[in-house]
């Protein structure tokens, strides 16, 4: 327990988290500090590229563990199942429409790759190893939640709100969305080229990684803070409670699964992070197309303004601490 608090303190005082907090504070104080959209997108492409490649190179180095397929499948099931939990919880805590609840649920079943990247950087800083294929699990968990949410809508939403799910091209857009293609592609190339490939580009993807992540989290803090300021109105107490409770429930599901699969402490922590985090890039875009009636201020503010900061500051050290205490080799 004392260890966990110390670890939490260490994590909170890492430059990554402090830059996120700086961004949040600057936005709330209405500073005009801002990153051009192109730079923000460029950094996110770099992070996906690097994390995907390193994951693949890790699998090449340690061989394919029997766990890969099992964990992938478990990830898909979790992503598909968590929206039902989220939908029910929203029903208990809030008075949102069924369409809004389904849209929010899709975000929480899916994952936030930035939270994942930050957690893996924290693990590396602490010297805690994890399975390289967790990156593939992250990719696999992006889309299933959307399917569940659309199924929910088709069951419970007013008929006018359902048309979008049949939108032509929607599924190609979701499955081939840029982040997934880059993450999975880099993973595959890292795996294929292995140690040789890594040696060629290591200096680009490893040494500067955490520095780029600091800058990126600064921007995410700015975006989250600005979003919070603009959309305070949507944060009724029940909605806020959901944004804090749901990651803990998700993390619990992830922990149970990670222990059942026999993942390492690092791997289990990452699975908790994936389940606890909520998408704010891929899923919102899909929801705008498929469920335009759902309120974007609601799901973006929850995912980016509430759950993301919660996970970054308190969630990650908590999940790492718990996984370290309970998982194999922990």
């Amino acid at each position: 327990m004392g260890d966990m608090v110390a670890l939490a303190g260490q994590t909170l005082l890492s430059p990554m988290i402090l830059f996120f907090v700086l961004g949040l504070a600057a936005a709330l104080a209405r500073s005009d500090l801002s990153f051009p959209e192109a730079i923000a997108k460029g950094m996110s492409l770099y992070l996906l590229f690097a994390i995907g490649f390193k994951g693949g190179a890790g699998v090449a180095a340690h061989g394919v563990d029997a766990g890969l397929v099992a964990t992938l499948l478990a990830g898909v099931v979790l992503s598909a199942a968590l929206p039902f939990l989220a939908f029910a919880l929203l029903g208990l805590l809030t008075r949102l429409s069924a369409t809004d609840r389904a849209a929010v649920a899709a975000h929480y079943g899916s994952i936030s790759i930035v939270t994942f990247v930050t957690a893996s950087a924290v693990l590396e800083s602490r010297g805690i190893p994890f399975e390289g294929y967790m990156v593939a699990v992250a990719a696999a968990m992006e889309a299933p939640a959307i399917l569940s949410a659309l199924w929910l809508v088709a069951r419970v939403a007013p008929p006018g709100d359902r048309a979008g799910a049949a939108e032509p091209g929607l599924w190609r857009e979701i499955l081939l969305n840029g982040s997934i293609v880059l993450l999975v592609g880099a993973f595959a190339i890292g795996w294929t080229t292995g140690a040789d490939g890594l040696a060629e580009i290591d200096a680009f993807i490893t040494a500067p990684f955490k520095g780029v992540l600091c800058l990126f989290l600064l921007d995410m803090g700015l975006v989250a803070g600005r979003g919070l300021r603009a959309a305070r109105g949507v944060l009724a107490p029940g909605v806020l409670a959901f944004g804090l409770a749901m990651p803990l429930l998700g993390a619990g599901a992830g922990l149970a699964t990670g222990l059942a699969l026999g993942l390492s402490a690092g791997g289990a922590a990452l699975l908790m992070v994936l389940c606890a985090s909520a998408s704010y890039i891929a899923v919102p875009a899909a929801m705008r197309v498929a469920l335009p009636e759902a309120n974007p201020a609601l799901y973006l503010t929850l995912a980016l303004g509430v759950t993301f900061p919660f996970n970054l500051t308190l969630g990650i050290p908590l999940y790492i601490g718990i996984a370290g205490a309970l998982a194999a080799g922990g």
Binding site: P36, A40, V223, I281, P284, A285, V289, N295, A297
Partner: protein
Amino acid sequence: MRMHAAKRVEIVIEAVMETRLTEALERAGVTGYTVLPVSGGGGRSGRWSREGQVGRATGMVAVVCLVRPARLDALLEAAFTVVDRHMGVVCVTDAQVLRAERF
């Protein structure tokens, strides 16, 4: 300069819908359009700005089409099917164009 009457249609729509809109316009026989980036805005759903954003979910674009007046209705109908359930505005102005053979 010899000018020809035309309609200038300007559609501000969510970035995620851009391709769907331009494909609908093409199907409706529109032969040309120009897409302008939008850096921010405000409306009933609040203010937004493109700064620091990574995703496409909250951005918008402006699509400008010049068409012969006779084609306006077909264009608006096509645009409306896409814009209907979405945020965004559609605005039509009378205009004159050079080189009418292009429209």
